[in-house]
């Protein structure tokens, strides 16, 4: 009989308790949303980097096939197959390298700015360098060098190859 009386007298959840529980749930939902956002973002970044590596390989191996010729013209070679145009701005070539050209390649909806440069070494080899840069944010950002460079807004991938002169 005493237990029965206590059951009748116990308190239910107060509004404060319900609201505290709701706030905890909201925090969990926000945390889950953040996790999901960064997962998708990283997945997108991985796709962009893989595509950049493919662009570097395409340009580099093609140039290497032409024996590293300083008259190699990627636009003439690939314009009929993909979107590629010559640009005046792009990632800088490594120190001591001679610039072949700077190009913008659009692939899978992403913009890549590629720079091709070369350098002859003393052992009879020509060093070919291909650098591709893409916006870190994943958006459509134009690479600029002047009046101010926005290079820090771009990620880059470098590929170096050697060819007998």
């Amino acid at each position: 009989m005493i237990k029965a009386r206590e059951n009748y007298l116990r308190k239910a959840f107060s509004l404060t308790e319900v609201m505290v529980a709701a706030v905890v749930l909201v925090i969990m939902v926000i945390g889950t949303a953040g996790y999901r956002y960064y997962t998708i973002l990283d997945s997108r970044r991985a796709v962009m980097q893989t595509t950049a590596a493919g662009v570097c390989q395409l340009l580099g191996e093609s140039w290497r096939g032409a024996k590293g010729s300083d008259t190699f013209a990627p636009v003439a070679q690939f314009a009929s197959a993909m979107s590629i145009v010559e640009k005046t701005a792009g990632p800088p070539p490594p120190g001591g390298f001679t610039l072949l050209g700077k190009y913008e390649v659009v692939m899978n909806g992403f913009n890549y700015y590629a720079t091709l440069s070369w350098k002859d070494d003393d052992s009879g080899l020509r060093i070919l360098s291909v650098t591709a840069a893409w916006p870190r944010s994943g958006g459509q950002i134009e690479y600029t060098e002047s009046p101010s460079s926005n290079a820090d807004e771009f990620n880059s991938f470098d590929l170096t190859m050697y060819v007998v002169k």
Partner: protein
């Protein structure tokens, strides 16, 4: 008559539970939270499906196989000779069956066959012998759902620009390989 039933009745009417207003407010808040959770879970499932398709769909795996096959065969090929069709839809390369010999006695022909619509083409490789006479041995379909494929050459390197589409996803992959560069 006992006094207990009367006491219990009084306690029930005086107990401190939820009022109707509190209950409604709590239900509304819970409903909002549950709607939020449901939306997030549904959206997560949708995004997961998108990412899974991007990595594991037939289009993604086919593009991977196509580039790997192209890369392996071209790097194995002799750079002395190759044939590229005028429209860039077919590339024939020559390679030695025995990796320890230099003379090419086999051929591999990459063939892009577009379909009537824009998504149903195929890319295949035909393998064959060169000696004593040119004879086809087998043909393997590398990938389906090819909407465009173009081969090019630059000196001793060959390039493939391949676009696959299954209607919901379009992927363009490029590959370039230097001949006789295993």
């Amino acid at each position: 008559m006992s006094r207990y039933p009367l006491k219990i009745t009084r306690k029930i009417s005086a107990r401190n539970g939820l009022t109707m207003v509190e209950l409604i407010v709590a239900v509304v808040i819970s409903a909002i939270v549950m709607l939020g959770v449901g939306f997030v879970m549904a959206d997560s499932q949708r995004q997961w499906a998108v990412m899974y398709n991007r990595a594991c769909s037939e289009v993604a795996s086919d593009s991977f196989i196509a580039t790997k096959t192209f890369d392996a065969l071209v790097r194995r090929a002799s750079g002395e000779k190759f044939i590229l069709s005028d429209d860039g839809s077919c590339l024939e390369i020559y390679y030695p069956a025995d990796a320890n010999t230099a003379a090419a006695d086999r051929y591999a022909r990459f063939i892009y066959e577009p379909a009537g619509d824009n998504t149903g083409g195929s890319l295949s490789v035909q393998y064959g012998t060169l000696t004593p006479e040119k004879e086809a041995l087998s043909t393997s379909i590398i990938c389906l759902n090819v909407s465009n494929c173009l081969f090019k050459t630059s000196g001793r390197s060959a390039q493939m620009m391949l676009t696959l589409s299954d209607g919901s996803q379009t992927v363009t992959v490029v590959s370039s390989a230097y001949m006789n560069n295993q």
